[in-house]
């Protein structure tokens, strides 16, 4: 009886141990990293949606893909088995902070950054170890270069894949704060002297009271500390951005994340939209 019990339980115990995600903290434990996976076990060829979970101690922050006037963006160094490929990384909406005329685009506290990982169809092993080292600049009143690692070992099942419903749900719940691609529409961008204007037609908004913000991917172009002027009109809403006096170039297009806190109608009320719009003459 005991032998039968052990024989039935053992595979689950082994699976649970293999799924453990180890945490290695960086620079005095200010930052720690965890890897989340929407799969508990993989069928070779599976696409995994992973979450890079970065936790920072209270009061500390790190930076978005465009860090702003100072700081450094996060850097990911992966250790993957043969044939595994990193796909799209989706960056959650940052927060803009400004102090003494210097603007930063940051993440503070906890952030989960989804990333797609493709597993090869011809993978022969019985487990896959996925390792990540995150290099970050973490700042409070001073900045400290930091790193944090995580490792996730996923068992391979050559017959079927197994989802992790709780992680799947957690990652799905992020969707409203993650940028989605802008479908064809009427958003326009133009330049007037040292200002850039992004205009959104009223039929793409919920109404005149939508709260709209823009976070540029382009570094060294905008005076982020000057803030954004927003205009509400019968037929459109507009955001006016100021170009930096010491900008590295004159932009020919506007690319970044357009955020509507009331949600964008044309992408199922998700709050963030990735845009790349050429400036009209």
């Amino acid at each position: 009886m005991m032998k039968k019990l052990i024989k039935n339980i053992l595979p689950f115990v082994v699976s649970a141990l293999m799924l453990s995600s180890s945490i290695k903290a960086g620079a005095g434990d200010i930052m720690s990293v965890r890897l989340l996976s929407d799969k508990k076990s993989l069928l070779p060829g599976d696409t995994i949606t992973m979450g890079i979970e970065i936790n920072m101690k209270n009061g500390w922050h790190t930076y978005w893909i465009n860090p702003g006037d100072a700081g450094l963006p996060l850097k990911f160094e992966w250790g993957l088995p043969d044939g595994f490929i990193i796909g799209n990384i989706t960056w959650p909406i940052p927060e803009l902070i400004t102090e003494d005329g210097i603007a930063s685009l940051i993440y503070k506290g906890k952030v989960i950054i989804p990333v797609v990982v493709y597993s090869p169809v011809n993978f022969k092993g019985n487990k896959a170890a996925l390792e990540l080292n995150v290099k970050a600049l973490v700042c409070k009143e001073k900045c400290i270069p930091s790193s944090g690692g995580a490792k996730l070992v996923l068992p391979i099942n050559h017959k079927k894949s197994l989802s992790d419903p709780s992680i799947t749900k957690r990652l799905k719940n992020l969707v409203y704060t993650l940028p989605a691609s802008y479908p064809q529409g009427g958003v326009k961008a133009s330049r007037d002297a040292d200002k850039i204007r992004i205009e959104i037609p009223i039929n793409e908004l919920n109404g005149r009271n939508d709260k709209i913000e823009f976070y540029p991917y382009q570094e060294g172009i905008y005076n982020l500390a000057a803030g954004q002027e927003t205009i509400s009109h019968d037929e459109y809403a507009a955001i006016i951005l100021k170009l930096d006096d010491l900008r590295t170039e004159d932009p020919q297009s506007v690319s970044g994340v357009l955020v509507n806190r009331s949600g964008w109608k044309n992408i199922g009320y998700r709050k963030a939209m990735d845009i790349k719009i050429n400036l009209t003459k």
């Binding site: 100072a70 005329g101 009143e141 500390a225 000057a226 954004q228 009109h233 006096d245 010491l246």
Partner: protein, 201 residues
């Protein structure tokens, strides 16, 4: 007959501190300033008319500044261009009590230990000169030609990191701009995005 449409324009201006509202731009005249240096001497930019001047925003405790000083990269640049007649001014715009703002004794101790070679280390605790030049990070570089024109603003090199190993792999903008300007060639790059810690105004 033109029907007047009611235009409801609600202006929401999110205006943050405009301290860096208009900094001197590329190809503009570099504004004069007067600051006290680490030895108590008054130094004015106008003293160096007819020379190339490098302004280097600094904070010895910033990891990006440490990258360039603990590797001796910055000191070597200072020496190299001093021998060519370039005036190198390190400027600290850290406010009292903030990172990088040291007592004179501590400052001189740091400068000795690092064997720094600027022409002078200038104290800008009110941040007035930093804001005049739009300095946002440490390091942040401005290069002024002998006619008093700002010819470069931005990063020291093209690999934003705190890693000393990146220094030899990087293209050094200070060297690139000064070599071109001093040999009457077109300046290949005039403005880059600086990288570093924020200036602690």
């Amino acid at each position: 007959m033109i029907r007047l449409k009611f235009v409801f324009a609600a202006l929401t201006i999110l205006f943050f501190a405009g301290n860096l509202a208009h900094a001197v731009g590329i190809d503009e005249a570099a504004p004069d300033f007067k600051l006290t240096d680490s030895k108590g001497k008054t130094v004015s930019l106008s003293e160096f008319r007819d020379k190339y001047v490098v302004l280097e925003w600094i904070n010895y405790d910033c990891p990006f500044v440490k990258k360039h000083y603990e590797s001796s990269n910055m000191q070597n640049l200072q020496k190299e261009f001093a021998s060519k007649g370039v005036v190198w001014l390190s400027i600290c715009s850290s406010a009292p009590g903030k990172q990088g703002n040291f007592s004179v004794e501590e400052l001189n101790r740091r400068m000795d230990k690092l064997q720094v070679h600027p022409y002078a280390y200038l104290l800008d605790p009110t941040g007035e000169v930093g804001k005049l030049y739009g300095a946002k990070t440490t390091p942040d570089i401005r290069i002024i030609n002998p006619k008093g024109i700002l010819i470069y603003a931005g990063a020291i090199d093209d690999i934003p990191s705190t890693d000393q190993a990146d220094i030899t792999k990087a293209n050094n903008y200070v060297r690139q701009v000064l070599d071109a300007a001093m040999n009457s060639r077109d300046i290949p790059v005039k403005a880059t995005k600086s990288y570093g810690c924020s200036v602690k105004y």
